[in-house]
């Protein structure tokens, strides 16, 4: 048995599975995502075709333990995808299915054809469909359905953009999780990226921020109590969704922040230094971090101020950050603000619960469980119609 973590249709999941259980069985039997069909279990028929890291792959010959950490999208996760929506309409119109058994795999492959091969003609579409078997339709309707979406794309009626996958390795593959000693590689061949042991200078170091945010929330607690909790790094970090502490030395904290949004996930390893002005109830955080997998770097300066309000305390947060690397390309202002607003709301809720637990002896937020709980709450909050719209937007941006 092995515990694996996947992002399935934008939702982080953790399952303990028999390692011989292939991905399609995990999706169907553990997660009740039954759109993924199984027939040959040899990688030939294509019924189980899903997206792994955004690209089509066979779920029947891919084992979860070799794609631990991957982003998986099944047909259920493509409900609001614009290309899939267009294909659904043309599949219906062209009678591109009869029994429907092959259809989930057909749609995933058809979507790939539309995105990857905008100039495909009928012969090319038929060749690309050779990995998806249909025993009912004779393919005529399926080919017509795909060709008509391709035509719409070429005519500009279906604005889609697609980014090129950066990694040259198998979709789903990830580096080994670091062991205690962090077994060094013997070879001096060029590695993708090496996480720096120290992030170097913290904060923006004079650079112009690419992201500037202002958030505020209120907590029904006295301002001084809120200030005290905010000054307790070990207590407050677990309130930040996805954040965890690696070590704390004085006002310097080394930690990790995992951001999951739709198909995107980044785990920033970083350091921050906190300076506080108790008389003004104002703190300043200088931080820097990098996500090893996406090679995204972030440098940030944040301030927080606690002021008195009739119903308790108001906390104002400003963030100025420079984001560089692949994630920066999709992190447009509106998107980041949307995410930041969610994170702030979750943080405020967690903080309120933590303080309520402190004050009343009620069910507080145990710091040890904080990270997982926060992420869980975040993800539940994110599972909204609004997120679906956002994810569609991100996917479109990603294809640029």
């Amino acid at each position: 048995m092995k515990t694996i973590r996947l992002t399935v249709n934008g939702r982080a999941i953790e399952e303990t599975v028999h390692e011989r259980m292939h991905l399609a069985d995990v999706l169907r039997d553990k997660l009740d995502l039954t759109a993924t069909h199984l027939r040959c279990e040899q990688g030939v028929c294509g019924a189980c075709t899903i997206l792994i890291d955004g690209e089509p792959a066979r779920a029947c010959i891919t084992f979860p333990s070799v794609c631990d950490g991957a982003e998986v999208t099944t047909l259920e996760g493509l409900e609001h995808d614009p290309v899939t929506t267009a294909l659904r309409q043309t599949f219906t119109r062209e009678h591109a299915l009869q029994c429907g058994y092959c259809t989930p795999g057909m749609l995933v492959t058809a979507r790939d054809i539309v995105l990857r091969l905008p100039d495909a003609d009928e012969a090319r579409v038929r060749r690309e469909l050779s990995g998806n078997l249909c025993r009912c339709t004779g393919y005529g309707g399926i080919v017509r359905a795909i060709l008509s979406v391709l035509e719409a794309r070429r005519a500009g009626r279906l604005p889609v953009m697609r980014s090129c996958r950066e990694s040259l390795g198998p979709v789903g593959s990830r580096p080994a999780r670091p062991s205690a000693a962090g077994a060094p590689s013997l070879s001096a061949a060029p590695a993708r990226a090496t996480p720096a042991s120290s992030m170097g200078p913290l904060g923006l170091a004079g650079a112009a921020p690419t992201v500037a945010l202002r958030q505020a929330f209120t907590v029904a607690q006295p301002p001084d109590a809120v200030w005290r909790v905010l000054s307790d790094i070990a207590a407050v970090v677990p309130c930040i969704p996805g954040a965890s502490i690696v070590s704390v030395a004085g006002d310097r904290v080394v930690g990790r922040m995992t951001v999951t949004l739709g198909p995107m996930a980044a785990a920033f390893d970083g350091e921050a230094e906190i300076a506080r002005d108790g008389s003004a109830r104002r703190g300043t955080i200088l931080g820097a971090g990098s996500d090893r997998l996406t090679r995204t770097r972030v440098a940030a300066e944040a301030t927080y101020t606690v002021t008195a309000e009739p119903e308790g305390a108001r906390v104002d947060v400003t963030v100025a950050a420079v984001l560089s690397g692949p994630l920066a390309q999709v992190s447009r202002g509106a998107l980041v603000e949307d995410l930041a607003a969610r994170l702030t709301r979750m943080f405020a809720e967690n903080l309120a619960r933590l303080m309520a637990g402190d004050g009343t002896g009620g069910p507080g937020l145990a710091p040890a469980a904080g990270t997982a709980l926060s992420v869980g709450l975040l993800l539940r909050a994110l599972a909204t119609e609004r997120l679906n719209r956002l994810v569609a937007w991100i996917r479109a941006a990603r294809r640029r």
């Binding site: 580096p175 590689s185 061949a189």
Partner: protein, 280 residues
């Protein structure tokens, strides 16, 4: 069908993968994309106790597109080659890649994995042998190189010793005036080849090499194939079919229809090479 029970481990380095392989003493199998191994596991044709996942080892997914050679990390996917993301100095590589299985398989299936799996009907062993590629093999400490033409020693058998790992593939870049032809014969697009053949004619480098695959064992590689074409221009018309039949027979190939398919594949590949040359 479902596989028998096995365990998996993600190796953090070549040294670790090599050590695990040796410790398992034959009970372990390396997995890169697992697209050949997966069906074999499901069919219980393969029953390893341990799968060692090497696809996350960074140096195995690096590609270098230099002036004289293309170097592919062994875990570079066939899709990456198809897209030209792993370099575009050798157009034949993308042509071969685009007809290996299906896109959903190519997104995980790797070039090195195909070589190590050594299925006689696979495309990469034939194509890379024709291009004169060699592979770099590591035991976790030292490296050695073996020509692709000699890497497969039989059906599903390779020159890898216990604990050894294929690290990268070096493909020499043919000169600009080189001509090449690649032909894969199948009944259905994307399936394993009934016959495949490659021809490389590079006068600047003095190369006229052919490779024929989908035989019973490793591909038949003829390093100097000028004699097969009567010493003149390469093309189907010039092909000495009697001599080729004799060679195939000596190599242990099938007779009858299968032999005819192999000869046809090579003849068409020669014609494609001739067509490429006439364009330049």
């Amino acid at each position: 069908m479902k596989p028998v029970a096995f365990e998996t481990v993600r190796a953090a380095s070549l040294a670790e993968a090599s050590r695990l392989l040796r410790e398992a003493g034959g009970g372990a199998k390396l997995v890169a994309g697992g697209q050949s191994l997966g069906p074999m596991l499901n069919l219980r044709l393969a029953r390893p106790r341990l799968l060692i996942d090497v696809a996350g080892i960074a140096e195995l997914t690096v590609a270098v597109d230099a002036a004289d050679q293309v170097v592919l990390g062994s875990c570079v996917t066939t899709a990456a080659v198809e897209d030209g993301r792993a370099g575009d100095a050798i157009p034949m590589l993308a042509e071969v890649a685009g007809h290996v299985a299906y896109r959903a398989v190519r997104n995980r299936g790797t070039v090195g994995g195909s070589l190590c799996h050594a299925d006689p009907a696979a495309d990469w062993p034939t194509a890379l042998a024709a291009l004169g590629a060699d592979v770099i093999i590591s035991d976790g400490r030292t490296e050695r190189s073996v020509p692709v033409a000699g890497f497969a020693t039989g059906a599903f058998e390779t020159a890898l010793a216990p604990g050894e790992i294929l690290v990268r593939i070096r493909v020499p870049v043919p000169s600009h005036s080189a001509a090449w032809g690649w032909v894969k014969l199948t009944r259905k697009a994307g399936e394993f080849a009934l016959a495949n053949a490659a021809v490389l004619v590079d006068h600047e480098r003095g190369i006229c090499r052919i490779a024929i695959g989908a035989l019973r064992g490793p591909p038949l590689v003829v390093g100097d194939a000028r004699g097969l074409f009567g010493g003149g221009p390469v093309g189907a018309g010039a092909l000495d079919r009697v001599a080729l039949n004799r060679l195939l027979g000596a190599h242990g190939g099938d007779g009858g229809t299968e032999r005819a398919l192999h000869v046809t594949a090579l003849a068409r590949a020669a014609d494609r090479a001739a067509a490429v040359r006439s364009r330049t």
